[in-house]
């Protein structure tokens, strides 16, 4: 470790001291996580977990927590809102809750959708019982750092048997400045037995200066629960986005989580799913559009702890220019977890010669009656298909974009929340040459 990075950690210390001086129920957890972060240091490419994510620029940046007084107008967020569906909206700017831009609305009886900062005081029991239980912050420096600085974000609690009809939409807005800032938004989603909820997180940047966004979301789902979770990453061109998701689920519970990595300098999507009940399904999906010099790292771990569970990992990467991606899918099957059915898929579409792909499945299986399959593909556009479309009157670039879209669409076509699916379609098409020609897909259905 260099002296520089040590200095950085000392810099965090003064900010940490301010936070920990606040006391409160999380002071102990923060202290422990902070100490852990100091022990771990910034991850290096020599270690296993960050082998393909270069954190040196982050370690070398003189990061500081953002000041709370940043102005953002509603108009700047328009393109990020979900249209045509009521939402419970929470907006955070540089990690700080913004009351004016938020619109939580009313939630059905018993449900809580609020700021984590409020919940730490009002729902101390729930927060302390669950916070930090779904992720391995003791071994991941960024999760440790987020936990050390846990202060605000989303808290939602759905009591047993309640279906929250409308999606919760959390916007993490980052407006970077001359000095590199860092934010550590946290979300804790607790859904009790038989509950149902949808949460959409949008991480959006309003500026291209360097900065670190380090969000961690935890989903604690009881028995017979259904949760749909989405994270859309549209950061500024200079943003390092190191995102973490932890989920733990009980018997008969179904959790879908989908990460759309669209914009940012570096996007890491770390997901840890723990199937801690029987007959569960963890469905993790992701799409990455990787152009310029962007690097996207999908780093997944699924823990099968109990019998008869299914897990699906379905990740597609589209690379152009000098983009690069890595995919690590680790499946761990406990001795007890018989009849596990785990499928891992990573498909890469290369649109340029210089793009780079790394993909590695990792299996650790201690049960004997399991089905674990993995498949990775790296391919280019089907030239015969492109010619077919082209020969029917569709322009060369548009034909290629249509095929590229088709590749991407398989990740999002099952999204039940229609306004979100349409939004994702638009976001993908916007990023493809002549994608505008291909709009109006919905009108044909």
């Amino acid at each position: 470790m260099t002296t520089d990075t040590m200095n950085d950690q000392h810099l965090f210390e003064s900010e940490f001291t301010r936070l920990v001086d606040l006391g409160g129920p999380l002071a102990g957890l923060r202290r422990e996580a902070y100490d852990r972060f100091i022990e771990l240091g910034w991850p290096t490419m020599r270690g296993e977990a960050y082998r393909y994510t270069d954190c040196r620029p982050i370690a070398e940046a003189d990061l500081q927590l953002a000041s709370p007084d940043v102005e953002v107008a509603m108009d700047e967020l328009r393109s990020h809102l979900l249209e045509g569906v009521p939402t419970h909206r929470l907006v955070f700017v540089n990690g700080v809750y913004n009351d004016t831009l938020s619109d939580i609305g009313t939630v059905p009886g018993g449900v809580t959708v609020t700021r984590l900062a409020s919940a730490i005081e009002d729902q101390e029991d729930l927060v302390t019982r669950h916070l930090g239980t779904t992720i391995d912050w003791k071994s991941d420096a960024f999760d440790a750092l987020n936990t050390a600085f846990v202060e605000d974000g989303l808290f939602m609690h759905v009591p047993a048997g309640v279906h929250l009809e409308h999606p919760v939409h959390v916007l993490h807005v980052t407006r970077p400045g001359a000095k590199p800032i860092v934010s550590h938004p946290r979300a804790l989603i607790v859904v009790e037995d038989g509950g149902r909820a949808t949460c959409v997180e949008t991480c959006c940047g309003l500026g291209d200066e360097p900065c670190l966004v380090n969000p961690v979301t935890e989903i604690v789902a009881g028995h017979d629960v259904h949760v749909d979770h989405y994270r859309i990453v549209r950061e500024g061109a200079g943003t390092w986005h190191i995102g973490g998701l932890g989920l733990i689920q009980g018997n008969g519970t179904n959790v879908n989580s989908c990460c759309m990595a669209l914009d940012g300098a570096l996007i890491r999507n770390g997901m840890t799913a723990t199937l801690d009940g029987t007959d569960g399904m963890a469905n993790l999906r992701g799409l990455a559009l990787v152009d310029g010099t962007r690097h996207v790292d999908n780093f997944l771990r699924v823990n099968h702890m109990k019998p008869d569970c299914n897990s699906r990992e379905y990740f597609k990467h589209i690379l152009s220019d000098k983009g690069s991606t890595s995919f690590t899918g680790r499946i761990y099957v406990e001795q007890d977890a018989q009849k596990t059915d785990a499928v891992q898929t990573n498909m890469n579409l290369l649109l340029s010669e210089q793009a780079r792909v790394r993909t590695r499945p990792q299996l650790e299986i201690f049960a004997d009656d399991v089905k674990c399959t993995h498949g990775a593909t790296i391919g280019r556009l089907d030239e015969q298909a492109a010619f077919y479309l082209h020969a029917r009157g569709i322009g060369r670039e548009a034909a290629r974009s249509l095929l590229t879209f088709a590749f991407a669409n398989e990740v999002i076509e099952d999204i039940e929340l229609l306004p979100l699916r349409r939004k994702m379609e638009t976001l993908i098409l916007e990023r493809l040459p002549h994608g505008d020609l291909l709009q109006s897909m919905d009108s044909v259905d």
Partner: protein, 254 residues
């Protein structure tokens, strides 16, 4: 309508079309017959503009316009349609969506207004009915999981939708049973309007009982070895290609 003059084309340095001259006047149906490997599909693909095939000599014009100067999409917009011998499956692209994009691209080029969703679906209904095509196929991805016959019918359906002036059909009969053959032929015949021209490529004479050609050309080893009326097709059916091959001096594929 279509004029091909001294056309030479090669793939990866091997010459496949070795000097083809062919003129198809407006409203006529010409057929190209020939043994496997004689270059029929190559000719079709060169007409459509596939870049794997390099045109080394000669010219192709469509209504006097230089076709070789146009990209494949421009050729389609100018009214050339090629029904593929092996239509490619395109997972993830809905047939309806693709077809609407294609129809509107062609219409825009012809300075016609864009079809809205309703008008488009009306047109789909009308054309699909004529071809006894199950419209639920159109909700599927392009050609994906279609049976051989469905693929061929879908090609003719697309042809009807795009309203071309020059239709090239590459072995549209292959893989069709007699009923499907009739449906497809009826579909094609319905499009014969005295102006539209057809180039019907086939290995067997059978199709030409249903789509009766004005002129039959026999392609052997990249050249047109003989041209005649529809009775030439019957002759070939009876005698096979061996005679013409021998006569043209080159055993095909040698």
């Amino acid at each position: 309508m279509l004029q091909i003059t001294n056309l030479h084309a090669s793939v990866e340095g091997t010459e496949i079309l070795r000097g083809i001259d062919l003129t198809i006047p407006s409203g006529e149906v010409h057929s190209i017959m020939g043994p496997n490997g004689s270059g029929k599909s190559t000719l079709a693909r060169v007409l459509a503009g596939e870049e794997t095939y390099e045109v080394t000599e000669g010219s192709i014009t469509l209504d006097g316009e230089d076709l070789l100067d146009m990209d494949p999409d421009e050729r389609a917009c100018e009214g050339l349609f090629m029904a593929f011998q092996y239509p490619v499956e395109i997972p993830g692209v809905s047939t309806k969506y693709f077809l609407r994009a294609a129809v509107n691209a062609v219409r825009a080029h012809r300075e016609l207004s864009e079809l809205d969703a309703y008008e488009f679906l009306q047109l789909v209904k009308e054309k699909a009915q004529a071809l006894a095509l199950d419209t639920s196929l159109l909700d599927r991805s392009v050609n994906e999981g279609f049976s051989g016959g469905e693929k061929k019918r879908a090609e003719i359906f697309q042809m009807a939708m795009l309203d071309p002036k020059m239709c090239v059909l590459d072995e549209t009969d292959s893989g069709l049973d007699i009923d499907a053959l009739k449906v497809v032929s009826d579909g094609v015949n319905a499009l014969r309007d005295g102006n539209r021209s057809f180039l019907v490529i086939t290995h067997y004479q059978r199709l030409l009982n249903y789509i009766v050609p004005d002129v039959v050309h026999v392609l052997v080893n990249g050249r047109i070895a003989r041209t005649g009326g529809k009775e030439l097709a019957q002759l070939l059916e009876a005698e096979g290609y061996a005679g013409i091959e021998a006569e043209s001096g080159v055993a095909n594929g040698a």
